[in-house]
């Protein structure tokens, strides 16, 4: 499973939602009541563990964790721009 899918699946299972209908990759998950303070901390713990990320206070304060797309972009950036879970190689051949 790719990075985006992994994050999507975690959010769907953890917060009992389904992307694709009224919830899109761009939906603000706080304002839609999907993620609360408790869930936010679960999400960060998941990202740290799943993608071996170092997330600093500054990162958290940069307002990045509001939508699936934003979370995905953040993880991509922190992982060095590659899809770490797929082995980090851009080469598919």
């Amino acid at each position: 499973m790719g990075r985006t899918e992994t994050i999507r699946q975690f959010i769907e299972e953890q917060f009992l939602v389904e992307f694709g209908g009224e919830l899109t990759d761009e939906t603000d998950l706080f304002k839609e009541g999907v993620i609360d303070s408790f869930g936010y901390i679960q999400l960060l713990a998941f990202l740290r563990k799943e993608f071996s990320l170092e997330i600093s206070d500054e990162d958290v304060l940069l307002d990045v964790f509001v939508s699936l797309a934003a979370i995905d972009a953040f993880v991509e950036k922190k992982s060095g721009g590659s899809d770490a879970l797929r082995g980090g190689s851009a080469c598919a051949e």
């Binding site: 009992l16 009541g33 999907v34 609360d36 901390i41 679960q42 206070d57 958290v60």
Partner: protein
């Protein structure tokens, strides 16, 4: 304290009227086990079940004036009845009883609806004017006593509890998805709402007049929080707060029966207990709940306070099994979906109080709203000033919000800061203070098939309230609490409804208008609001044990979804089974199934508050569906042991007497 019910129904078969009236009263007989009565006129019936507290021998209801023009059914207490009686007597009004009911009636005759502004009490009133044909309903300014009505065109019904309507021919309950969305989103019905279609409640501080089949509601008292600031010194303010509270407790000790106190162990109930012991000639009895689960238990501080103040204290130990066993009964009395189980122990506590022979209880409700006790107020202050604070200030203040919650601890500060940053600008006009909390509600609103905006009615309420926009963020937070959580859950589901399930009435000294006014005048004048209830603590610091002053506020909580998971009561099937879920029309089965699945398979520590709340909402809604919509007696819990003691009947129907049928 009593219960009232009645109807205006020109079309109802005259021969059936006494039976229907009696059956409606019987449905709420737990509220008034001492005696019952009704009054009938052509097309009109009203009655009461009475819990006698003042003038035990001659306060029977319904009561009429000497001319029999005015008839009253009264639920509640008028605390200033002594002063009003004296004033009315000076004006030439003559009294036949010593009851507060007659003071209400004579006040109405003397001053009309304006009398309501003079009342200091907890009440719901029905007054019939046999000459004009009008029916008036009124409710106290904080919504302490309930009053529901159903205006069905031809028939107009009213009652202290909606269950009375089950006895009216042809009446059907139906869950209202729009109302449920609002209940789930803001935790309680709005001031005029109920979970059921076509049943409304009379908003606090208002009265309804029904004339010629048309009803009109008017407000007689607006909640006023932007009062003139207190101008004296802090010492003067402390003395003022002490004095108004002392007077309030003194007034609420007026009773012809013994008055006890609910002692939670926190600051507010300790102050009430302290003042009650000072002002009572005899030993004061205090009562409290202990939890077997020590996470929720406050018994050690209860014992310290009781010993310090010398009360005769008793408590009941409540287990998960007790909560599961009594959930159906408690929901039946609450009549509204609940987001917590904490009302169930209060159902058990009132039973204990009643067994101890006590009918009247003082409690600390209203203190947190008046004196800014909730962390919600500090959170509002913090978010409102977020952009002006340094990192250090943000860190310190965030850390002080919820010392009882791990995820508000220092380890998670950065996460919370990110979250608060997002909620430092208002998104829902007028609801800034509650936006974080309402995210949980938005989650619960997903239980419903219809995805309407769950905050629509709440947004409309604050938008249409004159003066609201000019309040400070903290005052808006207070206003919302006074209009939603306090009357819609704390005073009702967890308070009045649980007490009256066993014929115990509660009185709230912190909800005296003078106390609310005093608090509003001193709040944030001498402190920054980050020490909860600072002025109240200063006012009673020397007389209470140290633990009452220094202990951070501990929200009264009980175990939630874990209870049902652990105990597996039969009725859990209502949410476990797809076939059962199908019976609740408005519920989104897909989401409900996911939620229940997660609750059942996830360790309790990993269940978030909003998931827990949504689960309790779902279960209580499914139970209410069985009890009210489907009318299944075996889901209604333990029947009341109270009998209906019909003592007073007054049949003034001309249509029957002309037929020679007057009894």
């Amino acid at each position: 304290m009593c219960g009232i019910a009645g109807f205006v129904s020109p079309g109802l078969d005259a021969g059936a009227v006494p039976e229907v009236m009696t059956a409606m009263l019987s449905r709420i007989r737990h509220r008034g086990p001492d005696e019952a009565g009704y009054y009938l006129d052509d097309g009109v019936a009203m009655g009461s079940v009475r819990l006698s507290i003042i003038d035990l021998s001659s306060g029977q209801q319904p009561m009429a004036d000497a001319t029999e023009r005015y008839w009253i059914a009264f639920n509640g207490e008028l605390y200033n009845h002594v002063e009003l009686r004296a004033e009315l007597q000076r004006l030439g009004r003559r009294f036949r009883t010593h009851s507060d009911t007659e003071v209400v009636l004579q006040s109405w005759i003397q001053w009309g609806p304006e009398c309501l502004t003079r009342f200091n009490g907890a009440f719901a009133i029905a007054i019939r004017d046999a000459v004009s044909g009008e029916l008036h309903l009124a409710r106290d300014r904080f919504g302490k006593r309930p009053l529901f009505y159903a205006d069905r065109g031809e028939d107009f019904l009213f009652a202290s509890e909606m269950k009375a309507f089950q006895a009216f021919p042809g009446f059907r309950f139906e869950l209202d998805p729009r109302e449920l969305a609002s209940v789930f989103a803001v935790w309680t019905p709005l001031p005029d709402g109920t979970p059921f279609a076509d049943i409304r409640q009379l908003p606090m501080g208002s009265f309804l007049t029904l004339r010629g089949g048309r009803s009109r509601i008017r407000t007689y008292d607006e909640l006023s929080l932007d009062v003139e600031p207190f101008t004296g010194s802090e010492a003067d303010a402390v003395a003022h707060v002490r004095e108004v509270l002392r007077e309030s407790v003194e007034m609420r000790l007026r009773s012809d029966v013994e008055v006890g106190v609910y002692l939670s162990g926190g600051l507010d109930s300790s102050i009430v207990t302290k003042l009650a012991t000072d002002l009572s000639r005899s030993e004061v009895r205090t009562f409290s709940v202990e939890f077997e689960d020590k996470t929720f238990d406050e018994s050690s501080s209860q014992q310290v306070v009781a010993a310090h103040l010398g009360t005769r204290h008793s408590s009941i130990a409540v287990s998960s099994a007790d909560i599961a066993e009594n959930f159906l009964s408690a929901v039946y009395h609450a009549e509204v979906p609940a987001f917590r189980t904490a009302f169930v122990p209060m159902y058990l506590l009132s039973r204990r109080v009643r067994e101890a022979g006590i009918k009247t209880i003082l409690s600390g409700e209203g203190a947190d709203e008046a004196f800014l006790g909730y962390s919600l107020f500090r959170e509002t202050l913090l978010r409102a000033s977020w952009s002006e604070l340094s990192d250090d200030e943000r860190r310190t203040k965030t850390g002080s919000l919820h010392p009882e919650l791990d995820h508000f601890g220092p380890a998670h500060w950065a996460h919370l800061a990110g979250l608060f940053q997002q909620f430092s600008v208002e998104q829902l006009p007028g609801l800034f203070s509650h936006e974080l909390r309402y995210q949980n509600g938005k989650f619960a609103a997903r239980l419903l098939k219809e995805r309407a905006e769950p905050f629509a009615d709440m947004l409309g309420l604050v938008r249409d309230t004159s003066g609201y926009a000019g309040l400070t963020p903290t005052q808006k937070a207070q206003w919302i609490e006074y209009k939603t959580l306090l009357p819609g859950y704390l005073l009702s589901t967890q308070g009045e409804r649980m007490g009256l399930a066993h014929g115990v009435e509660n009185r709230c000294p912190f909800l005296d208008p003078a106390v609310v006014r005093a608090a509003a005048s001193v709040n944030l004048r001498f402190d920054d609001g980050f020490v909860e209830k600072a002025i109240l603590k200063n006012a009673f610091r020397d007389e209470l044990p140290e633990i009452s002053i220094t202990r951070p506020k501990q929200p009264y909580r009980a175990p939630g979804s874990a209870v049902f998971k652990e105990q597996r009561p039969d009725y859990l099937e209502l949410v476990l089974s797809d076939a059962e879920l199908e019976k609740v029309d408005c519920i989104d089965k897909n989401f409900a199934r996911k939620l229940v699945g997660k609750i059942m398979k996830t360790p309790a520590a990993e269940i978030s508050t909003k998931e827990d709340q949504a689960f309790i909402y779902l279960l209580s809604t499914a139970v209410l569906n069985r009890q009210f919509v489907m009318g299944e007696e075996n889901y209604m819990g333990a029947p009341s042991e109270a009998g209906l003691k019909l003592r007073t009947t007054a049949d003034r129907r001309q249509s029957l007497s002309s037929m020679g049928a007057n009894r």
